[in-house]
């Protein structure tokens, strides 16, 4: 990947990471990441635990701001802007770049309100009933929810809760959806349903997903980024870095790096 000046990002690129280094306090979690994440595709971040893939994902909508002591060096370009520019409001960033978390985390509200809440604060003025139904349908959870919209979001099963959270993210009409191991707390059937949902979603959104499940990356992702971590001399822990970023097929069938091959073929960690 060649270094490009910040504003001249190719039009098919959704987000561009330029020499991104993220630290917790004085500890560098992930170092010198360059990446051009393509628009309208699903990109998977894979790698062993502690390689910084979740940290990178959370940097994409400034979620790391919530962690005390977390700092980012470098640039994250989205829609011609550096997301970490002082003039950028992180609240606006998160309205355009939605997120689905590892653990289903519906709000302690009714199913209907879970969806309507985000839309309302994002200034949605249209027909709320219609939006709720549309979002739940897109997240493939409408049939389970339609008769109990007034009930608590917690009355759903874990898999349904996670799809409710996806619906909640969709309802704010973001341009990008970040998913941080969205299926790690779910059973295989719920996982499959969420993957089907992702296939639906990538028609209208750019999706980035962190996953520990390599089969999942193969099934859902167009592009895959492999992160690894290695101990540095004099450092206290392992520092993560991007090893390889390519089309999923290439990563899994003919990776250019030995460590990628080791990881995807299971000879590693």
């Amino acid at each position: 990947m060649t270094a490009s000046s910040p504003s001249t990002v190719a039009s098919d690129v959704c987000m561009s990471l330029q020499d991104v280094t993220i630290s917790y306090g004085s500890f560098e979690a992930v170092k010198n990441v360059y990446m051009d994440l393509p628009k309208g595709k699903v990109t998977a971040f894979i790698g062993p635990s502690g390689c910084g893939k979740s940290t990178v994902l959370r940097a994409l909508n400034r979620m790391n701001d919530l962690i005390p002591g977390c700092t980012l060096k470098g640039r994250v370009i989205f829609d011609q802007h550096d997301l970490y520019d002082k003039r950028v409001d992180p609240v606006e960033v998160r309205r355009r770049i939605g997120m689905v978390f590892q653990k289903p985390n519906p709000f302690p509200k009714s199913i209907y309100e879970n969806i309507a809440f985000g839309a309302r604060i994002n200034g949605y003025k249209g027909d709320m009933d219609e939006l709720v139904e549309r979002s739940l349908r897109k997240a493939a959870v409408w049939d389970e929810c339609k008769d109990k919209l007034k009930e608590s979001g917690f009355s759903l099963s874990g898999g349904q809760q996670q799809r409710l959270c996806i619906a909640r993210a969709i309802a704010t009409e973001p341009e990008v959806i970040l998913m941080d191991e969205p299926c790690s707390a779910l059973d295989p059937i719920s996982t499959l349903k969420i993957e089907e949902t992702m296939h639906e979603l990538k028609r209208s959104y750019t999706i980035m997903i962190v996953t520990h499940n390599m089969q999942q990356a193969v099934r859902v992702a167009d592009m895959t980024a492999f992160f690894n971590a290695e101990a540095v001399e004099g450092g206290t822990g392992k520092v993560g870095y991007l090893v390889e970023f390519n089309e999923t097929e290439n990563i899994f069938n003919s990776p250019s790096q030995q460590s990628t091959l080791d990881y995807v073929s299971g000879r590693f960690g």
Binding site: N61, M63, L66, P68, V91, E92, R94, R95, G98, M99, V100, F101, K103, N105, P106, F107, P108, K109, F117, G118, I121, N122, S152, F154, C165, R168, A169, T172
Partner: protein, 317 residues
């Protein structure tokens, strides 16, 4: 099907009789300990109730609605004290809840460096360590003279309402309310802070993830998730405020004349009990017992109400 294991397959793992005895003994011990709480509670209620029976028979429910307190003619009514108890408790909570909740929100959010927030939390909790008699003394000699101009201002501007109709002159209901605020504030703050800290980080992230602002996340997601525990703390404080004796007795004025005005001296059930038990005899003792029963019923109702609201408001997360 596997064949059943021979009976003595467990012989080696059989627990020695002493160990089982300890088990049984421990269970009985905890039972006794748990029961003793109930027995003490029941005993207190029965003694107070039986002491109050004479007054109940003489005055009936009129006791609750009349304000005469006349040992010479042996006529007693607890309206002043009941009114004072409810008014001081409720108004002090109305003031203390916003302050305590605000403090709790402030020290659970990352608005200040952690150390400073911990310091503020510690200071609030230290308030609870001040003995109430010291607070009462402080209320008489420092707080009441200091707020008198403000109370006078209330009288001159709002004197047309019955609640501020009298001239403030030292001890009264209003200073008692303020000292109660000081006393329940640490409870509300500490419980609200714990409740807010227990809201899972995932929920907080979820709120920020859909693009809420900080106050949006606090008011729409974090507070609703914590509201049941916070209500529990509020109800606990209400019980405390109704039962608080020492500081209130010292500053409320212990009046035997009924007045709606908050600026006039008043009385509460507990301060009345504290003041009069020493020199009471005959039916006056019984009347005081009757007042004590009323206070117990009031706090009991508050507790039931607390349980009920907590259950209604509690949300699983």
């Amino acid at each position: 099907m596997r064949s059943a294991p021979p009976i003595d397959a467990f012989t080696l793992r059989r627990r020695p009789p002493q160990e089982k005895l300890v088990d049984i003994g421990f269970r009985q011990l905890t039972l006794v300990l748990a029961a003793s709480v109930g027995i003490v509670l029941l005993a207190i209620f029965l003694t107070v109730f039986s002491g109050a029976r004479e007054a109940m028979a003489t005055f009936g429910l009129k006791f609750l609605t009349t304000s005469a307190w006349d040992p010479v003619n042996e006529e007693y009514g607890a309206l002043i004290a009941i009114y004072g108890t409810l008014v001081t408790a409720i108004l002090s909570l109305l003031i203390a809840v916003p302050i305590g909740l605000g403090t709790a929100i402030f020290i659970t959010e990352d608005l200040l460096p952690r150390r400073l927030r911990d310091l503020i939390g510690l200071l609030v909790e230290l308030l609870a360590a001040i003995p109430s008699v010291v607070l009462g003394l402080w209320a008489i000699f420092v707080m009441e003279p200091a707020i008198r101009p403000f109370l006078s201002l209330l009288h001159t501007t709002l004197g047309w309402t019955p609640f501020f109709a009298t001239e403030p002159q030292g001890p009264g209901t209003a200073p008692a309310i303020l000292i109660l605020v000081v006393m329940v504030l640490p409870i509300i703050t500490a419980i609200s802070r714990d409740a807010l800290n227990q809201v899972p980080i995932e929920l907080r992230q979820g709120a920020y993830g859909v693009g809420t602002t900080r106050w949006g996340a606090i008011f729409n997601v974090i507070l609703p998730a914590a509201v049941s525990s916070i209500m529990g703390g509020v109800m606990l404080s209400l019980g405390r405020a109704m039962g608080e004796t020492m500081a209130v007795t010292m500053i409320i004025g212990n009046s035997l004349n009924f007045s709606v005005s908050l600026l006039a001296p008043g009385n509460t059930i507990s301060s009345m009990l504290a003041n009069q038990f020493g020199e009471a005899d005959g039916i006056q003792v019984s009347a005081l017992m009757y007042a004590a029963v009323v206070l117990m019923i009031l706090t009991f109702v508050v507790n039931v109400l607390a349980q009920w609201t907590v259950r209604r408001l509690s949300l699983r997360y």
